[in-house]
């Protein structure tokens, strides 16, 4: 396990805080990934056929790591999609997400327990890719040659919860919009859909998603934006920001609504634009005057949204978690959208 040498706790020695009191989600978690049900018995690499691979159309930026994802539902159980944007996952649901840089580095795990609660863990792979063990709850920083900057941060459990508890459902990548077969062709870092991947139609056909409004199969969810670029930009913000910045979670008081729903129609984009364009920014960049705005239509350089996305100073950067490297392609999309496609709030209101 020499590859697990720990680097400095973080840039400031602060980011990887100990897990929060009263949230002992590690209790009774399996010590090894192979005991979570991901692999066939006796293997640490062959995935059980009942664990279904999937690929969200708007992936989260994770410093260029490659990802594989699987969903497991207990026999006879199904996701209740009565509320299209807050799917109810049955007890026993399990999800895995493997992150890699030329080899597997960590596999994150979410499980819904019998009492309806969720628990979260991450497992660290050895250099040979033959076994993965439970990571410490406070997270670790790895030196990893193939990761950008030679450094790879395993998040703490508190940081896992910061994102996953900020949304309506802690499962962020399995939703009607993310698994829509009407995939966005312009999204940065889009992952090709493999033949074995399940999407919305596949889940319904297997009776693993029930009570989905039938219209949603006839016209699969799509962000009703004003242009293809706006659609991709809003999808990117949905996947990378919307789990915290939405109008129903703990950060609702910030009045920044970047989550897009499967049934929002034009309301979702309109709501996002209203909360961005011309809105005063609480965060004021160094040297900026008191009038700093989240987005100034036509001016990406004056838009705090783009400024913070382009920073990896831990005190400035957005997202604040889970990334050490700027997503150049993602920022370029957002800046192009601000510069070329956005109208002012006044024009939008007319």
């Amino acid at each position: 396990m020499s590859f697990l040498r720990l680097a400095a706790a973080s840039l400031l020695g602060l980011v990887l805080a100990a897990p929060s009191a009263g949230r002992d989600h590690a209790a009774a978690l399996p010590e090894r990934l192979r005991d979570t049900g991901l692999f066939v018995a006796g293997s640490t690499t062959a995935v059980r056929p009942e664990n279904l691979p999937y690929s969200p159309q708007y992936p989260l930026w994770s410093d260029g790591a490659t990802k594989c994802r699987w969903l497991y539902l207990p026999p006879g159980a199904a996701i209740d999609a009565s509320q299209p944007d807050a799917w109810e996952f049955p007890p026993g649901t399990r999800l895995w997400k493997e992150f890699g840089h030329k080899r597997p580095v960590e596999t994150r795990y979410i499980e819904r327990r019998a009492d309806g609660s969720w628990r979260f863990a991450t497992y660290l792979w050895n250099a040979a890719g033959t076994d993965a063990v439970l990571a410490p709850p406070g997270g670790v920083v790895l030196t990893l040659e193939d990761a950008p900057g030679g450094r790879y941060v395993i998040p703490s459990q508190a940081d896992c919860l910061a994102c996953h508890e900020g949304a309506a459902v802690p499962v962020l990548g399995v939703s009607a919009l993310q698994l829509s077969p009407d995939r966005d062709p312009l999204v940065p870092h889009a992952e090709p859909v493999r033949a074995e991947d399940v999407d919305l139609r596949g889940l319904v056909a297997r009776a693993l998603v029930r009570n989905l409004p039938p219209a949603m199969l006839e016209r699969p969810p799509r962000i009703a934006a004003a242009s293809p670029t706006a659609r991709a930009a809003l999808g990117y913000l949905h996947a990378n920001c919307g789990h915290c910045h939405n109008d129903a979670g703990p950060l609702a008081p910030l009045e920044l609504a970047l989550a897009q729903g499967a049934v929002d129609g034009a309301d979702g984009p309109a709501k996002a634009l209203r909360s961005l364009i011309g809105q005063s920014s609480r965060y004021r960049p160094q040297g900026a005057d008191a009038g700093a705005q989240r987005v100034v239509a036509g001016r990406h350089d004056a838009s705090v949204l783009a400024v913070r996305m382009r920073s990896r100073n831990p005190l400035v950067q957005m997202p604040p978690l889970g990334t050490q490297i700027v997503d150049g392609e993602g920022v370029a999309l957002i800046e192009r959208w601000i510069r070329q496609y956005l109208q002012t709030r006044k024009e939008l209101a007319e």
């Binding site: 980011v15 805080a17 009191a21 940081d159 915290c244 008081p253 008191a290 005190l315 400035v316």
Partner: protein
């Protein structure tokens, strides 16, 4: 006769039942007043507990700017818990020497150290510059995680959240309740400054 007896009994039972229903459905005014009084007492106790905790946990030491008083520096309670004054000009801190690694401004609201320069937050319920838009969950999440609103940037030294995160939920609720009750003061605290870049001559 028998029929009349049953009719009377039935009527009497109905009356008793209706009376009982009325008694259970509509609390007596005195009982309602008791409940209201208990709620008011509990609310006052929570507020007092919050004020006590804010006092003994030393929140004013850093979040209320110090001023020169007749007996030396003292917290300026006219700016109670409003954080680092927005208009205060803060030149670069002295360079650390030997074992001295941190500097603090005379107001006790600006701190310079290896983490950069931190400015204490406005804890008053002003909606634009303080905690006026926060709710109990964002407050508890902040103290528990050491991240702004539980999800944002790291909170910097000298904020002792690693100790404060051990407050119970009830304590944190009392503290938040008290902080939401104090006078709102508009004061836009600046963002923290990053650590100075090492100098070219071997800093």
């Amino acid at each position: 006769m028998t029929r009349s007896f049953f009719a009377k009994t039935s009527r009497a039972v109905s009356l008793v039942a209706v009376s009982l229903l009325a008694l259970t459905a509509a609390p007596r005014p005195a009982a309602a007043a008791d409940d209201a009084a208990k709620r008011a007492t509990a609310a006052a106790e929570k507020l007092a507990r919050g004020k006590y905790l804010v006092t003994v946990a030393g929140c004013n030491d850093c979040h209320t700017p110090f001023k020169d008083g007749p007996n030396g520096p003292e917290p300026d309670m006219s700016r109670m818990l409003s954080g680092h004054p927005q208009d205060m000009v803060v030149p670069p801190a002295p360079k650390p020497q030997g074992p001295w690694i941190a500097s603090v401004a005379a107001t006790n609201t600006a701190w310079s150290g290896p983490w950069g320069v931190s400015f204490t937050a406005n804890l008053t319920p002003d909606r634009e510059t303080g905690l006026g838009k926060w709710n109990l969950r964002t407050f508890i999440d902040t103290i528990r995680t050491g991240r702004r609103m539980g999800r944002g940037r790291p909170i910097l030294p000298p904020m002792p959240y690693p100790m404060y995160k051990h407050f119970t939920d009830a304590d944190l609720e009392a503290i938040f309740t008290y902080l939401q009750s104090i006078p709102p003061l508009k004061n836009k605290v600046p963002e923290p400054l990053p650590p100075a870049a090492p100098s070219a001559q071997g800093g």
